[in-house]
Symmetry: C2
Subunit: 116 residues, 2 copies
């Protein structure tokens, strides 16, 4: 068996949502499934994290929301990236890259003499 899904690192959900919406408008439930699928079920988005995050991003003006009827005939709140959201997406992807680089430097560092 594979690992169970990992808990989210606090602060990484926003960029995942923004990235998903970078492909086009979508609604919460679909966003969550997309993230889960593209990460090979490593990341599981709890609904209690997802919906507040969407409201947060909307409140910051990064997303626009509107109720629509999906292809399957159900009501869903469809989110669209705003221009500010697109800028934020770029910034957060780049911040994530820098963070990974910094962590990698630390986790792969060789000691520079004594750590004291």
């Amino acid at each position: 068996m594979t690992h169970p899904p990992m808990p989210l690192l606090k602060g990484t959900l926003d960029v995942l949502i923004l990235k998903t919406l970078g492909w086009g408008p979508s609604h919460g439930y679909a966003i969550s499934r997309w993230i889960q699928q593209t990460t090979g079920d490593e990341l599981h988005i709890e609904e209690g994290a997802l919906y507040p995050a969407l409201r947060r991003l909307e409140g910051k003006g990064l997303l626009d929301a509107s109720w629509k009827t999906t292809a399957t005939g159900r009501e869903a709140k469809v989110y669209t990236l705003t221009a500010a959201g697109r800028r934020q997406l770029k910034a957060e992807v780049s911040a994530w890259s820098r963070y990974v680089s910094a962590m990698t430097r630390a986790l792969e560092a060789r000691p520079t003499g004594a750590i004291a």
Copy 2:
């Protein structure tokens, strides 16, 4: 000018501390400086995050602590990785790797048709 230091992603400090102590015993202030230096000043460890984290790890039995006098003649609480701490270090480095892989898959994914 370079970027200001990034805020820590919650959940990444423990592995940084464990990694630092993987090189040998050290005390809080030195650990913090080492992380800051090896990440090229990208990560700045707030003392309000550092000291509680050390106590947390000690409480979990991952570190042992003892007061010692440093080479510069000052009192410092020196932490040492326990056997459990070494195992945890391995586990957390590997968990971080998996997390980065998952995030990378999501952030570099191409859309698989409609996100709906």
